[in-house]
Symmetry: C2
Subunit: 383 residues, 2 copies
């Protein structure tokens, strides 16, 4: 995992012969998207502040009774800004400052809804299984400094913000949760939603810190469209995506933190499949960089103790209900991806493919209810 | 849709610079697979009989208490052999002969389980919405000529055969079904399983001919492993894959018939996502070629009446639970894809990723049961 290959989609664009490129692109990534014309002020600011900026447009057919429902969505992938040994408050403040810079640029591009990466105010320290100082990064979803910071930003830019943090729930015995706070463009806290599926794989020892979320599959009606947040490991669970969609989500964010060897070949598949299967947009966001920890730890893989658990490969992207997708952001640097999308494409794709109409959910509700019973007998035909 | 690009994976292998190829391959397709060493007799026969032959190996770690459970699986993609205006019996016989040729070659390669494409004994004539002669291709799953043909083949080669046909069910009022018959390597009919989700999209007017299957998600215990058959449009429904997997399927076949403009960019995603999400192998099979019909028909797309509905793009492939996959067969020619797989990889991947353990199916059974009720209220948070 050298992290040297910056972007597969970019590399293909360079090396596939011109006469084959559009056909290869269509098969691998669906309909080719128009590039979003970004203001030069934004492009210059991004360059000065040393992050990638990229934009694409998802179009839909014109309808007679609905106007295009155009929304601009922003995805931010970033590194931690200070060494993990720095004081907690300084690490958080540095991340606040960095995100404010990038959000300012998103605002120049008229972004309406923005989502940050999973547990964005902290290093992804769960690999350590240590408590202090990491649990000190947890904050109240409603009143924490990070939520207040996001409220200011949201009001300033008239922007909806999905802010995934480590939550400390003081009113329920100081429980920790992996939570996304959704802040309205008015600056009000619209609500929160918790990570439904908790990994127990490799260095992602997250079940040490928090449990499966208890907020179900709520969807947030914002001024710009209905959104949901499926946090990280939930992307491996098709039912999780499905229930957000059944509750009406048109855009499902998937703020994540995941590393190369473990998941990189699954990354382009899962969120994109969810967009296809559920007639909605999905936004996969991964942090980037390698995070070093002071105390060594082992990874349950028979290898020697070490101080990091590999490279977060970025590669954030957006998928549309018709199966098309944007190129990914860089595998190695910070970035802002902007997707302009006409949300009418969701219902148009639904009316074409009809996966909801043909979904037979009643049958599956019954089969699943049977399957979880202790006396469940699998339906196996034997000779 | 010229059909001229033969295989995206092959093209990438040719044009991506050598120093980047393994990294690009890893990101796009997962762990690189060893090529299966095929006997030259088979390679020669395939070349003489004018079909592609390709083989790959999926390996698993050695365990202490289980021996490797190595099985060789074959996927056949083919064209119709005679014009669609030829007498029905001649068309069927020609397809029987062609499949017998290809299965003979599979037998030279020690294939244990083989699956043919959807409705393999006939042109995919459902676009016409005509009854005769197409309904004459329907046969009894238990006693039809095609099942007898497959039983002979199965016995001769000690091979399990999954044979997807148009079924006529005389004991239930002459109903038609889209059915896969599973034949044991002993030659016995092990059972049948029906297409659970029926498309109403584009020229796939299949709901004109048959209804949603009533055989649930049964799995067949064969001498070589537990298999299931998810027919065509069922690949768009993640719950369909899930229930086969919950019933114990280690290999899920997806015999299909699908065309370029409609689905080609979804094709590499859906079956592969299902292999990942369900810790099993999936085998996506698509027919190949363009089928012409005598009477013109329209396609509900505002275009002029025509005599074919586009190019079936082949591209059959196998995906493994770890997210790796084989290259596809050709987009334009007939072929036999052989995958040697150690089925121990299913449980190994399950133990690593734990999607079943973390699946929270009880919650989803309840949510789905609520979601289908007429008085269902979506969980939407408003300001």
């Amino acid at each position: 995992m050298s992290g040297q290959l910056v972007c597969v989609e970019g590399l293909l664009g360079k090396h596939v012969p011109a006469e084959d490129l559009s056909e290869v692109w269509r098969i691998l990534y669906g309909k080719e998207l128009r590039k979003l014309d970004l203001p030069s002020s934004a492009v210059n600011a991004a360059s000065q502040e040393n992050f990638e900026i990229k934009g694409c447009v998802f179009e839909a057919a014109l309808e007679q009774l609905r106007r295009p429902r155009t929304v601009r969505v922003g995805l931010i992938q970033n590194k931690i800004q200070l060494p993990t040994t720095s004081p907690v408050a300084e690490q958080v403040n540095a991340l606040h400052r960095r995100i404010a810079e990038i959000v300012d640029v998103a605002a120049m591009c008229d972004v309406n809804i923005i989502c940050f990466q999973e547990a964005w105010t902290m290093p992804f320290a769960f690999c350590t299984r240590e408590r202090l100082p990491w649990t000190e990064f947890a904050e109240s979803a409603e009143n924490g400094a990070t939520t207040k910071f996001c409220q200011e930003l949201a009001k300033k830019h008239n922007m909806v913000i999905a802010s995934p943090i480590l939550e400390r729930d003081e009113s329920h015995g100081d429980t920790l949760w992996n939570t996304a706070v959704v802040i309205s463009n008015t600056g009000a806290v619209l609500g929160k939603t918790r990570k439904n599926h908790i990994p127990r794989v490799g260095d992602f020892n997250e079940s040490t810190y928090y449990m499966e979320g208890n907020t179900g599959h709520r969807v947030f009606q914002t001024a710009f469209g209905r959104i949901a947040v499926n946090i990280c490991y939930g992307r491996h669970h098709p039912l999780n995506w499905l229930m957000y969609s059944i509750n009406g989500a048109e855009i499902i964010f998937n703020p994540s933190a995941t590393i190369g060897e473990l998941s990189e070949s699954l990354w382009p598949i899962e969120a994109r499949n969810a967009a296809i299967a559920n007639h909605c947009f999905t936004c996969a966001i991964n942090r980037v960089g390698t995070e070093h920890f002071e105390n060594e730890f082992t990874s349950g893989d028979g290898k020697k103790a070490h101080h990091d658990f590999g490279h977060f490969y970025g590669s954030s992207y957006v998928s549309a209900p018709d199966g098309s997708r944007t190129p990914g952001l860089s595998r190695v640097s910070e970035g802002l991806l902007i997707a302009e999308m006409d949300l009418n494409l969701c219902r148009q794709t639904c009316d074409k493919w009809n996966f909801k109409m043909t979904g037979r959910y009643e049958m599956y509700a019954e089969e699943l209810a049977r399957a979880v019973r202790p006396d469940f007998q699998a339906d196996i035909v034997r000779e």
